[in-house]
């Protein structure tokens, strides 16, 4: 890694210094293509973010791909019902690595205002790993832009080699997340223990 001051000095002289990791991550974060995936009210805010006033395309989300194979990012916007949950997990599995998830809105984070509902999944992070959570009901388009920028910063920091490298660069790390079955009274299993270990609340 080059010293920052040296970089700036060289930059003033017209010499640009970088590493392959920086270049690679810059290419990846500047062209995150989300998947066309909206569930409920937060989807309307997501659509508003892609429109002229809050333009998401200037951050790299140029097109929303209809197919999961061509998408990098899945924005879970809206309440995930238990009837829809297996489809969300299956779509996430069908996305090609590297893939990221933004849980947008209270319902995607934890079930939101409808948490006691008989058909509401209490947060999509029970089944798939989520990179950025956006609180709000619904979060404003600026909040979604902030989440996008947070995701970009996260991608910037992902190393290519070594211990901290992301899942898709690791040959041993599993990339398959089991799809829940729709049982007689609830989804089976109720959560994926590997993705969502039950947190211990320290009071």
């Amino acid at each position: 890694m080059v010293d920052e001051g040296l970089k700036i000095e060289l930059g003033k002289q017209g010499v640009f210094v970088t590493t392959i990791q920086e270049l690679y991550n810059w290419g990846r974060r500047s062209s995150i293509w989300p998947m066309q995936f909206g569930l409920a009210c937060c989807a309307i805010e997501m659509i508003a973010t892609t429109m002229a006033r809050y333009d998401l395309a200037r951050f790299g989300a140029e097109v929303f791909r209809p197919s999961p194979r061509q998408a990098d990012l899945m924005i879970i916007s809206g309440t995930v019902t238990k009837k829809m949950a297996p489809q969300v997990v299956r779509l996430y599995n069908q996305m090609a690595e590297p893939r990221y998830v933004i849980a947008m809105g209270a319902c995607a984070i934890s079930g939101g205002p409808f948490k006691q509902g008989y058909n509401v999944l209490k947060g999509i992070d029970r089944y798939i790993p989520v990179d950025v959570h956006i609180p709000g009901c619904p979060p404003r388009p600026e909040a979604l832009l902030q989440a996008f920028i947070t995701l970009q910063k996260k991608i910037d920091g992902q190393p290519l080699t070594g211990e901290g490298r992301p899942r898709y660069l690791d040959a041993e790390a599993q990339g398959e997340f089991p799809v829940p079955e729709q049982g007689e009274h609830d989804l089976e299993p109720t959560s994926n223990k590997g993705v969502w270990p039950i947190p211990v609340v320290i009071r």
Binding site: K122, Q182, G183, S191, P197, I198, V201
Partner: protein, 228 residues
């Protein structure tokens, strides 16, 4: 628009054999409803839609109500013969005492229809139909052949309450998946226990979350490694 009594009279005149009862609504809105026996319901529905004066062509809402079994405690005057001392002599005397008797009024499922008229611009007319009980005799005639908007709404009531509509073209669950076994809107529905974690737990939820935590910690004594 006609009052409830007039509508009842019109129905009884048009469809002989129909059993109609007025259910009074004591609230300030005063929307009284008509309780219909399931026997001639389809003919009554046809009359309501095709009648020149009523012309109820818009079924705006179909909803269900679950009336669970009620346990009523009544004070009943009972005449009994008891041994009592009257003026020092033991005799058999007849006595009337108040006795508290409990009885169970069986519950039922109820389906409520709200009708409006687009042609005549009046409404609403409220109709009710009750099933025999909540357990096995839960059939009611479907009004989908007459008003198409009942199709999805009756499916929802079948899904959430368990009322089986005979004559419905496509009766299957709407909101829940087909393999689901419960009827969530019934009073005796128990939520599945998936409150493993609740950050601001309170009351019963806190008790359940504590039980989950205890079960998890006893299952894995080394701990989950999260938050420790």
């Amino acid at each position: 628009m006609k009052t409830v009594e007039e509508i009842k009279a019109a129905i009884e005149a048009a469809v002989p054999g129909a059993v109609v009862e007025i259910v009074l609504n004591p609230s300030p809105s005063g929307q009284h409803s008509l309780r219909l026996a399931p026997g001639h319901a389809v003919e009554v529905a046809q009359f309501l839609r095709d009648d020149a004066e009523l012309a109820l062509d818009f079924l705006s809402n179909v909803t269900g109500v679950d009336w669970p079994d009620k346990e009523i405690t009544e004070k009943v005057k009972v005449t009994r013969t008891v041994m009592k001392t009257v003026d020092g002599v033991e005799q058999q005397v007849e006595e009337t005492v108040d006795e508290a008797r409990k009885r169970v009024v069986p519950g039922y499922l109820e389906v409520v229809y709200h009708f409006f008229s687009m042609a005549k611009k009046h409404g609403p007319v409220v109709l009710r139909m009750r099933t025999v009980n909540r357990t096995d005799q839960v059939e009611l005639p479907s009004l989908t052949p007459i008003w198409r908007s009942a199709e999805f709404q009756e499916r929802e009531i079948f899904d959430l309450y368990g009322v089986v509509f005979t004559g419905h073209p496509d009766l299957r669950r709407l909101l829940m998946w087909d393999g689901f076994k419960d009827h969530p809107m019934r009073r005796d529905y128990v939520d599945p226990d998936d409150y493993e974690y609740e950050p601001t737990a309170h009351d019963a939820v806190l008790a359940r979350a504590a039980a989950h935590k205890a079960a998890q910690q006893s299952a894995s004594p080394e701990g989950t490694g999260v938050g420790q």
